[in-house]
Amino acid sequence: MDTNLNKAISQQEVVHWQDKARRVARGIRQRALELTIKNNGGYLSQACSSAEIFAALYTKIMKLGPSQAPMTPPPFPGVPSANNPNSITGVDYNGPKSPDLDRFFLSSVQYAMVLYVTLVELGRMSPEGLAMFNTDGSTIEMIGAEHSPGHEITSGSLGQGLSQAAGIALGRCLKGEKGRQWVFMSDGEFQSGQTWETLQTLSFHKLDNIGIYVDVNGQQCDGQMENVMNIEPLQAKLETFGARVYRVNGHDVEALAYPADLSPNGCPLFVLAYTNTTEGMDILEERKPRLHYVRFKDEAERERYRTYLTHTFPHTPVSPSSSPFPG
């Protein structure tokens, strides 16, 4: 075929994924705001800071197959044990496990809600599933558990997720599997010693089939991280521990995706996504820096947010089943 036509088509494909990623990010923010209003509270600022990261991971970066799980998650089937053949993890929502396919690990599970709305945005879970968020007997837990959609490890005690993913990375490497591991972390986890233990292990064993995206939004429960327990300069520290580090604007999907395309070089990849906790939702500005969990103090405030929702996101999110783009 004509080279110019080839180039035009591939340029169109490039624009194609970026547009889709940005649309997905917008959908994530909208659905997160809807859910927060419905539940009178939620980890909304995390959706604002990480929408592009999740969108880029799920639409461009990660090599995943289609969901293998029911669109509407079944009820919680009980805890893992030798006597419980029904216990599950939420891994099927990310597609089949296969040597050539990638795997996703959410380490900071207060972002569970963002993961759920991402799955809905991409047609991997139904809106009915999302409606079960934080209801008794469902798997759609507020603090993601390993049985929650999109999750496959227990990482609610922060700082353990990366370790587990690293073990999986080694296991898959030993088995000769080519699929990569992608971990989502929050910057707060770098206050935890275990994170640095994992980092030195990844470097020592030259595990480069793992890429970690960090939402560096500079905030935690108690407020601004620099006032609670400062972790900067993060890039320098990670590089000293032997990591390959890219520092990017966390709201730029192209910048986020770029490092993932590089050939692995024997070092674990860290993409430090510097983000804004009110990106795409300026009504949250008035709450800074207390944004870790957004709660409405009364019905009047909730109503204000409802009005903001209708004005800022006037269209209902695209129903995944009618989307022309593959999930």
Binding site: E141, H147, V228
Partner: protein
């Protein structure tokens, strides 16, 4: 019955005012553990340690060696599970006066297994030099500070927060090693602790109306477990003993009572209510208490089993019970 909020937050500030060597350490859960008022009132005595509990605990040991009394605050799971080695070696072994305030006991959180402290008493019990206290109402949340501070060694405290009832009168603060007698009787003896007591009080009232004679004891000191009133109460029971705890049945209150009964050769049938050696999951408190049978209905069923009979008591009957603030029976005797 009063329901109060911010009990620990306000009380800690008042209590600590004249105790300059009391310092508070936080692991990024300042408002979640009600120490924000303390931080704002005594900023020079408040230390933000970030999300790094193992360090916080050994660090507290160091401070204690220099004559300070660190009051460590975070969710219980991040104390006894995350940093057990540090507690054992940096604090318990050297018998240092560090006070560990563990929030979200048992199934009082929808945060799932990673946030539910379901085996903390069992784990802390096996540490030599450790004292273990559990709060069950506003009066205990307030008075536990004096009890903890009187101990020459480490103390682990199961703390409750948010909306708390006042079950016990202010004039009857928590006392180290002393149980509360909530009702006297001779058919069945019931031991409950923490949030289980309020739940148990619903059913003991209804059972009494059905002619069951119940001895109900509230336990707030889990270690040392040597209150003579415990054996005395258990020995009375014609049909058997029930323990009820917001914890696994292995190693906590149930086990402590079993040890007491066995050593005394008391030979009483024991039914332990609590988590039956399982992790829980994320759901509302009410739902989990029913699911894991740590509620009023479960106590009723246990009593029925011990007595070999059934009562026509429904969930609605139990829900209808209004609880008044009660005085421990011991007060009348101690007059």
């Amino acid at each position: 019955m009063e329901i109060l909020k911010q009990v620990h937050a306000r009380n800690l500030v008042k209590w600590a005012k004249d105790k300059p060597r009391v310092v508070v350490l936080s692991a990024d859960l300042t408002s979640s553990t009600e120490i924000d008022l303390f931080r704002d009132t005594f900023p020079e005595r408040f230390f933000s340690m970030g999300m790094a509990e193992q360090n916080m605990i050994s660090f507290a040991g160091g401070l204690a060696r220099e004559g300070f009394f660190p009051f460590v605050h975070t969710f219980a799971v991040f104390i006894y599970r995350r940093a057990l080695d540090q507690i054992s070696m940096s604090i318990a072994y050297p018998n240092l006066p560090v006070r560990l305030f563990g929030f979200l006991p048992g199934i009082t959180t929808p945060g799932g297994a990673t946030h539910q402290a379901t085996e903390d008493i069992a784990v802390m019990r096996v540490l030599p030099n450790m004292t273990i206290l559990e709060t069950g109402d506003a009066t205990e949340v307030e008075s536990v500070l004096d009890v903890a501070h009187s101990v020459d060694g480490p103390v682990y405290i199961r703390m409750i927060r948010g909306e708390i009832p006042r079950l016990f009168d202010r004039s009857q603060p928590m006392q180290l090693g002393q149980s509360r007698i909530l009702s006297t009787g001779s058919d069945v003896t019931l031991f409950s602790s923490g949030i289980c007591t309020e739940e148990a009080m619903r059913v003991t009232q209804v059972l009494a109306k059905h002619g069951v004679s119940i001895q109900h004891m509230h336990i707030s000191t889990l270690k040392p477990f040597n209150d003579p009133a415990v054996l005395e109460a258990a020995s009375r029971a014609r049909y058997g003993v029930i323990t009820m705890e917001n914890h696994t049945v292995i190693g906590g209150l149930g086990s402590a009572v079993a040890e007491t009964l066995a050593e005394a050769g008391a030979g009483k049938k024991l039914m332990r209510l609590g988590l039956k050696d399982t992790y829980a999951h994320g759901a509302s408190r009410h739902y989990l208490m029913r699911e894991y049978k740590i509620d009023a209905l479960a106590v009723k069923e246990a009593v029925e089993k011990l007595l070999g009979t059934t009562f026509g008591i429904t969930e609605d009957d139990l829900a209808a019970v209004r609880l008044e603030s009660i005085h421990s029976k011991a007060k009348a005797e101690a007059l």
